[in-house]
């Protein structure tokens, strides 16, 4: 079975679980005691991921770190319809762009949440300001996308892994003191993500 090194409160680990659910892939979850155990910094885990980060996925002999890389792999390998990661050059380029943007959301909104919820020593005002700047960019993008008839971040009709990668830390932003009040297009889009058939939640994210 495909194995996921997982922590239930991690938005990055969560990214993998809905895609697996949509694709009908069963995952064996291996709990990593991220907080308070800091097990991701143990020698045993550093041997699995020298960056000391979760998630990590193992499928046979393949071992992948980074949620975005894992989404690319699972969609490319297990989605027979190729709708989650279409093999269309332009779309692939756009998806790559928004997967990188998901990292930006992690570095800002997720950092703010770690500061507020798990006592991490970050510059909280800066995390929040940069998160708002990122949300602003996505909100505008989605507004224009909607105006042009597109429901999703990188595509018109069917969601892709770009939507999955951007979703978790946006939904969890309030836990870092980042309100989504000023981003109506983002709010409509998160509702659409929650409406995807087979959508699953994580602690902190409720069904629609």
């Amino acid at each position: 079975m495909i194995r996921l090194y997982d922590y239930p409160m991690s938005g990055n680990c969560y990214k993998v679980r809905p895609l697996a659910a949509f694709l009908g892939i069963e995952l064996a979850l291996i709990p990593v005691d991220f907080y308070p155990g800091r097990a991701h910094r143990d020698a045993a885990f550093l041997a699995i991921n020298p960056l000391g980060q979760i998630p990590v996925l193992e499928d046979g002999d393949l071992r992948l770190r980074d949620a975005q890389a894992i989404l690319v792999y699972l969609a490319a390998k297990y989605d027979g319809t190729r709708t989650w990661y279409p093999s269309h050059p332009e779309t692939m380029g756009k998806i790559g762009m928004w997967l990188a943007f998901a990292e930006r959301i992690t570095a800002t909104a997720s950092a703010a949440r770690l500061h507020d919820a798990m006592q991490y020593d970050f510059d909280i005002e800066r995390c929040r300001a940069e998160a708002h700047a990122a949300l602003q960019i996505l909100d505008e993008h989605l507004w224009f996308a909607e105006a042009g008839g597109a429901a999703w971040i990188a595509t018109n009709d069917h969601p892709t892994i770009a939507d999955i990668a951007c979703f978790p830390y946006i939904m969890l932003s309030e836990e870092g003191g980042i309100s989504r009040e000023d981003y109506p297009a983002i709010r409509r889009w998160t509702d659409r993500v929650k409406g995807i058939k087979g959508f699953i939640t994580m602690p902190g994210i409720f069904p629609r």
Binding site: G37, A39, A117, M118, Q119, Y120, G204
Partner: protein, 301 residues
């Protein structure tokens, strides 16, 4: 500080400021208690220090160095946590005899910062009615949504106690193998501390103990320290923690959604939506103790 100056009950009480697991030897843990910046450190296996850090000079995880230690506060290590008081504690720490019972497994699932007043976190912990809707498939499930009658009293130690609570739970604990009717007893020994006893799935005649120790950071922010002392010798530490943290993670957005982050003590406030016996008794008891920190009294509304 205004809010604390008004409240001798809370200022002279013990409060948790860190779980032991978050205190590596020789490193500073910087936090805030009752609007007061403090620092905490473990000097060696036995010695724990808590001191006032008014200028916030101590950064989280910096090495412990005699030069940074300010005026010290009382420090007591108990129930997996370090407890302190910003004034003179008027009584010893509450008792939790199960902590010393043979065969129990203590575990600190984690300390989570929450954007709400600490009394809100305690009140939510005492509420059975939210199980099927917030902890769906774990602590409750439809159609078992009815809260059956139970008894709330104030015991000889002046603690709020709710007994004869029952609820059908799909996954009452990590080691539960199926749905079962679970019996609950709740105990609120101090305003910011609540303990629950629930049927142990493998030994139904005994109770697992789950405690919530809340650190009031400000009137509208808190850190929820969880501590469990249960009869499960086979689950891994990581899995036990994740089970509890998952449940708490489900409560967190609900807690943070309260428009008013302090707890209203006026019996007319919010009661139509929350006609819950333990909650009413808790609010009355807080008013009787004269607790002000983290509350809104009738006159303030």
């Amino acid at each position: 500080m205004n809010a604390t100056a008004r409240d001798p009950v809370i200022c002279n009480d013990w409060h948790p400021v860190a779980g032991c697991i978050d205190l590596p030897i020789g490193r500073v843990h910087s936090t805030v208690l009752l609007d007061t910046p403090i620092a905490v450190a473990r000097r060696d296996e036995q010695t724990y220090l808590v001191w006032l850090d008014p200028e916030h000079r101590c950064r989280h995880h910096m090495p412990l160095d005699a030069a940074i230690i300010g005026p010290t506060l009382p420090a007591t290590l108990r129930y997996g946590h370090l407890w302190t008081s910003i004034d003179e504690p008027r009584h010893p720490l509450f008792s939790l005899p199960e902590a010393d019972e043979a065969g129990r497994r203590p575990c600190h699932p984690g300390s989570i910062g929450v954007h709400t007043g600490g009394l809100r976190a305690i009140e939510n912990f005492l509420d059975l009615a939210h199980f099927p809707f917030v902890h769906t498939g774990i602590l409750g499930a439809e159609p078992y949504t009815e809260v059956l009658d139970y008894t709330v009293t104030i015991n000889d130690a002046n603690e709020v106690v709710a007994t004869e609570c029952r609820f059908v739970q799909p996954q009452a604990a990590l080691n539960a193998t199926g749905a079962a009717e679970i019996h609950y007893i709740y105990r609120v020994p101090r305003p910011y501390t609540a303990i629950l006893y629930k049927t142990c799935p493998l030994q139904p005649e005994r109770f697992d103990v789950i405690a919530l120790f809340v650190q009031p950071v400000t009137e509208t922010r808190c850190i929820a320290h969880q501590w469990i002392c249960i009869l499960d010798s086979s689950s891994s530490e990581a899995a036990l923690r994740q089970f509890q943290l998952t449940i708490f993670g489900q409560d967190k957005p609900i807690l943070e959604n309260h428009r008013e982050k302090r707890l209203p003590l006026d019996p007319r406030a919010e009661m139509p939506v929350r006609a819950d016996a333990t909650s009413s008794a808790y609010r009355r008891w807080l008013a009787g103790l004269g607790v002000r920190y983290g509350t809104i009294s009738a006159s303030q509304q």
